[in-house]
């Protein structure tokens, strides 16, 4: 359970039903249990089964929602904007080029402050053509004003979608939320998942009842009029403040969910064997599990290493990272994406910025890995941990290592 223990004694609710389902089905269940009333999605690998599962739930009468058939991702999110403005709870999902096509309504969704929940089934972006995992799609749109949470396994997909509505619709927040789960490495992986009972989810998550904005023919209002810069600046300022408040709300919702269902995830980030560690790894998404196994193995060899599983990329937990990493001797970041202008990964660049005021700057090393569905293996982590140990002992180590290709940066063919 992502490094947390499930203690039946601590639960408020009885255990749910155990099922073996893939990540897309876990997302469909998370949505279904949250009782959305309007859905719209356009199929794209590896999200396609999610659309099929949701359509089946609606067709079988198990989910009382309108499933709107659309001709593109742009339309899918535009439909949900109208539905959300009219007071509906909504859900969709997409991947890669679908997200790219969706970008225009995507940024308008957050700036309209609509609490839409959307899965991003992360997939490499093209070219070259690839349908496999990679987080470049979601990470590229990180600055469009949404909250983005990345998850480790199928159970966390289901649980996080339920939590996402509570975060998005919180009156202090009113922002859309992406639950980002790795294409193929979660979307198509069959795993054991506990499905909570509907009545327990209903107690945790109240129906959506918007108060600030609602399309209603009886009381007409204008939405999104031409806005001069001084007022637009005020909108942006308030949007940024909502992102700042979301840090507290993400933590509170996770704490409440953990108390009721027995599965806390750490809120903004999970610390794994970190507090007494001198070395730290930072991971995002499904590779976090493999990283934890590698951390355990290194601990057994006497290496004092721990891990931060970053859950929230937006809002970025700057202060929390600073606090958690204070005093570490070396820090390694695993990036399943590329930050083209920095020649590193994105998370590395952001962690560097967050830690700029740490005294005695520890070495920070980036590991770019797992692009386009490439496997991030246990051996990759052994190599990463060995490089971290070298850096901590004062040896000069390259700023970026690309795990899985055989040449050193600067020596490429």
């Amino acid at each position: 359970m992502s490094g947390t223990t499930t203690d039946d004694e601590a639960r408020v609710v009885r255990p749910g039903r155990i099922a073996v389902i893939d990540g897309n089905m876990a997302a469909a269940w998370g949505a279904k249990l949250s009782r959305p009333t309007v859905l719209a999605a356009y199929p794209i690998t590896p999200q396609t089964p999610l659309v099929e599962y949701l359509s089946t739930f609606v067709a079988d009468g198990e989910l009382d929602a309108d499933m709107v058939e659309v001709e593109s991702e742009h339309s899918a999110l535009s439909v949900l904007q109208g539905a959300s403005l009219a007071g509906a709870r909504t859900f969709t999902g997409t991947s890669s080029q679908g997200l790219a096509l969706m970008y225009e309504p995507y940024i308008r969704t957050s700036t309209l402050r609509l609490p839409i929940v959307m899965a991003i089934v992360t997939r490499e972006v093209i070219s070259p053509q690839s349908v496999w995992g990679g987080q470049q799609d979601a990470i590229t749109v990180r600055d469009a004003g949404w909250i983005q949470i990345y998850v480790e396994d199928n159970q966390e997909i289901l649980d996080s979608i339920i939590m996402a509505y509570k975060i998005a619709e919180h009156p202090d927040i009113l922002l859309p939320v992406n639950i980002c789960y790795d294409g193929h490495y979660l979307s198509h992986v069959a795993d054991r998942v506990e499905i909570p009972a509907q009545e327990d989810v209903d107690r945790f998550l109240s129906p959506y009842s918007p108060s600030h904005i609602k399309l209603d023919p009886r009381t007409p209002m204008s939405v999104d009029p031409l806005t001069p810069g001084d007022i637009l600046m005020e909108y942006r300022y308030k949007h940024v403040r909502a992102q700042a408040r979301a840090k507290r709300v993400i933590e509170e919702v996770d704490e409440e969910f953990g108390r009721i269902f027995g599965r806390p995830y750490g809120g903004l980030l999970e610390r794994y064997r970190l507090d007494d560690a001198s070395l730290a790894l930072i991971t995002l998404g499904s590779t976090s599990g493999t990283a934890k196994v590698a951390v355990d193995a290194a601990r057994n060899r006497g290496v004092d290493i721990g891990l931060i599983k970053l859950r929230a990329l937006r809002p970025f937990p700057r202060e929390e990272l600073f606090e958690a990493l204070h005093g570490k001797a070396a820090i390694g970041i695993v990036d399943r994406n590329v930050c083209f202008g920095w020649m590193t990964g994105v998370v590395y660049a952001e962690v560097c910025a967050a830690l700029r005021l740490l005294p005695d700057q520890p070495p920070l090393i980036d590991f770019v890995a797992g692009l386009g569905g490439a496997d991030i293996t246990f051996k990759h982590y052994e190599r990463a941990i060995s490089l971290l140990q070298q850096a901590a002992s004062g040896r000069t180590v390259a700023e970026v290592t690309w795990l899985g290709i055989d040449f050193e940066p600067g020596e490429e063919p």
Partner: protein
Amino acid sequence: MLHMKEIRLHGRGGQGTVLASQILVSAAVREGKYGNAIPFFGFERRGAPLAAFVRFDEKRIREKTQIYTPDCVVVMDPTLVHASNVFDGLQEGGAVVLNDRKMPEEAKLPTTVGRLGVVDATGIALEVLGTPITNTPMLGAFVATTSWIGLEALLSALQEMMRGKQADANARAALLGYERTRVLDMQPGRAEAHLL
């Protein structure tokens, strides 16, 4: 106490290899275990070689990677033994489950194999299902060879994941696969130590 087992299934597109991997996980979970199945992410074409990666354990499984050093290799299609490196990384004393009409020559097996299970899964599939889809007889052969999950759990998982007549026929194919598998300990002593 079962220590984590890693199983690599090799098949060709259309033989039900990915479904077989999901049935195995479902069977393990029925027995109160944890399990997950990762399909190899290649091109989905009928006849193309593909693999699926299954893990069982008594506790939650964190790894989300492919399997490079399997405890067991299951080969759904007899031609794959010659076409790709299906035995790569097999653990010392590990298990191999093959679809073949006759026992293979020892020279063609990996030196690390501890226990061998062989069954004519294509013959059973043609006899029971009328089509050479070998996944369910091979699941029966897997249980006969390793005993890592019980036959009862396998059959009930299979019934849950298939429907109607198809489920019944496949349960029969799995049962025949179980009954007709010839199991041979290649390195007595070592195999028991590893396979338990």
